[in-house]
Subunit: 439 residues, 2 copies
């Protein structure tokens, strides 16, 4: 009988080589042939690894018959320092074994430094275009943002949860919901884990979730997706909604530090400059709105929300005046915030809520929630909602909830702004918009 | 103007107190009043924290008027050793401030050591019943299983990905799919991230995803959910499918070690015994099937798959004979495995695939995938599938894929078996089954 023990067989990585520990040592690497250049006898083979790519020098006769780009190979040789090679080293190849061969050449050459494809050309080819170093770098950085979110919050005593994405139709309302048939009943896809994460704040005090969020919004913009990844947290026993803001600022600092430490390869490839995170200014909604109007001449069309142009101008202002890439805009009008938002006791026209703008774009919405049953049912009734439809949600208020609040971060928006992408579709592996559900 | 810096305000925890560092020191704690017992003057207040609960001794007059269970409070006092108190310490209370009050008493008393509610009574009350220490302990342990999955795989060079849950109808086939209307087109909810994670193995070599999976299966069993959390990974450049098995065994060892180290409180509360993980036996499907028939008299009704009774018997066998809680069953018949499974070159009736049984229940399905375009299109055609419908998937094979494979673990099943629960619904916060989509 065969037994397994969980032994780890870690392949050599780009980092192992780049850190210099393997210099003049034999190495065996597996990867795809990213590019081939015949220099008259000697061939330069660029081997694409899980991260990074390495220049491999193959003497005449070392290459198997018919080797071409996107063949997967195992290559043996010796690492040697070479100042002219990218990264400062190369592999002197002794042998190359082919593990698999493509059936057809790539539709675009991955050997180019930048692909610069039109979005409509790129997206259908995504499954293979993502192999390009610059394309995949975006998603490696995205991984870092998520990893930092979990690591930071776990360290702060949060518990990770997994809540249902198929929910009872009507629970959240609004026209932007995808509907489905659930064994003959009407159901919908969740627009946020809001009600569940509040519930779980009553259980674990501090909870977070990373998961898909669905919005059936019909308008096509460079900053909306119909399915995106939400980074959500909710925390109980807060003193005020500034506790939530501080927690997000703490996460962002942690994230930027992690990226600086472990994702330098991808940051440099994309030319990403990490934002300074020493302190983030907070501006009240009404002051921010006035500022955009008075300083930049933005016309006030919607007094209860910020329009994209206003967000951009407020971002510009804090960058120019305070050298900050971020700004928390606080105290949004009650009229445009959801039924669970807590009104400001000092002025009920406003809520104890905030958005975070990053380089002029909203990337987070959060705030303090109503925890009293009487206050929550009263606010629902004032809005013409029927509390009876929310029975299993109001159960938590009825039987006692701590003062609590939380936020939701759009992962793709955060990625987009950090990497300086001009369309959010570049920050989603396989974006979903009005016209796209393939690939 | 106000500025925030990301300052962390960590509340004192059960662990801080239990580790003894706060003994004879003043402490301020926030939590819910879990139980109140008047001992004639002195009142014992059990304060429920984010983890654990602590006995607090309140002198006459220290309690606010009308304090009752599920009030949220801030309590100040001194920690002192007390051998008769649970955990070996208690708080001598000086003051109690009420942060919030419930509108109505709990429908069940959380003060009982075990609730032992019938499933049909418990599930509608889940939003508040989850506050019970034994109920929430299951989900804290579940958190540990997910945390270990990510930490282990990140350490092994995997990249975390997020793939769409709304997919083109027909991409996966089968009758067990939830269908929805996507802006006038037919779409469905993904049954697994299979095609996307294979795609991403061509990009990052090793990838994983933690996310919801949807199955519209109509049968109600104690081990099926219609929405569950999949722990998926896919790895390229493998030598054989045993690389995948070893990776899973490595993860499980890592998970059990993490639980033993950081989740002792919850393990003890539930009486969970962690399985030994030194080595896991592997049995071929046909040998396992024969064994269940010959040793335990299981009738062979389906020669191509294992029935629940057979899985249970195989689990019993490896426990009794090899003292193992786990067994990998390998080489499942090609007939019952999906189109992307690689057939065994030595006998094409079988595949290079496996299931992992944990205490007699399947918790994982995995295997090596076809990487050659010619072999994949041939297998599709032999099954009567139209390769043209899979164009954006077959693109990855056409343009070259490394030998690769992966697996999917059902998080709720793993949790259920580890915690000894008799119904998978107890391992999902808000389970979805044929009749339940609320709460």
């Amino acid at each position: 009988m065969k037994f397994v023990t969980g032994e780890s067989k870690k392949p050599a990585t780009y980092q192992d080589i780049a850190e210099g520990g393997l210099n003049n040592r034999p190495v065996s690497l597996r990867g795809a042939v990213h590019a081939l250049r015949d220099m008259g006898g000697v061939t330069f083979l660029t081997l694409r690894l899980a991260r990074g790519a390495v220049q491999c020098v193959c003497p005449p006769g070392a290459l198997p018959q018919g080797l071409r780009e996107e063949c997967c190979v195992e290559l043996s040789g010796t690492v040697r320092g070479e100042p002219r090679a990218p990264g400062g080293f190369e592999i002197a190849v002794e042998s190359v074994a082919v593990l698999s061969r493509p059936a057809a050449p790539m539709p675009v050459s991955l050997g180019k430094r930048r692909l610069d494809l039109h979005l409509d050309t790129e997206l259908p080819l995504r499954p293979v275009v993502l192999r390009h170093p610059r394309e995949r770098a975006v998603f490696k950085i995205q991984e870092g943002l998520v990893r930092a979110f979990r690591d930071y919050l776990t360290g702060e005593g949060f518990t990770e949860i997994h809540t249902p994405k198929i929910v009872h139709a009507g629970a959240e309302g609004g026209s932007n919901i995808f509907k489905l048939d659930y064994f003959g009943k009407k159901a919908c896809l969740t627009q946020s884990p809001q009600l569940y994460k509040q519930t779980m704040a009553g259980v674990f005090h501090r909870v977070f979730e990373v998961g898909p969020v669905f919005r059936a919004e019909k308008h096509a913009t460079p900053r909306h997706l119909n399915e995106y990844t939400g980074l959500d947290f909710e925390m109980g026993y807060i003193d005020s909604f500034y506790d939530i803001i501080e927690m997000e600022a703490g996460y962002l600092r942690h994230a930027m530090a992690l990226l600086a430490r472990e994702y330098r390869l991808e940051l440099d490839l994309l030319g990403v400059e990490l934002p300074a995170m020493d302190q983030i200014p907070c501006l009240r909604f009404d002051a921010a709105k006035r500022l955009a109007a008075e300083k930049y001449g933005c016309q006030i069309r919607d007094p209860y929300d910020l329009e994209p142009e206003e967000e951009a101008r407020i971002g510009q202002y804090v960058k120019e005046e305070l050298d900050s890439d971020f700004v928390f805009v606080t105290h949004y009008p009650s009229k445009k915030r959801p039924f669970y938002a807590m009104d400001d006791p000092d002025d009920a026209r406003y809520t104890l809520s905030f958005d975070l703008l990053f380089r002029g774009l909203e990337v987070t919405t959060g705030g303090q929630r109503i925890h009293s049953w009487a206050a929550q049912t009263a606010k629902m009734e004032a809005r013409g909602m029927d509390p009876a439809e929310f029975e299993s949600y109001l159960m938590i208020h009825r039987h006692g909830m701590p003062p609590h609040g939380g936020l939701g971060i759009g992962l793709e928006r955060l990625t987009m702004q950090l990497c300086g992408l001009d369309n959010i579709r570049y920050a989603s592996l396989f974006p979903r918009d009005r016209t796209r559900m393939v690939p």
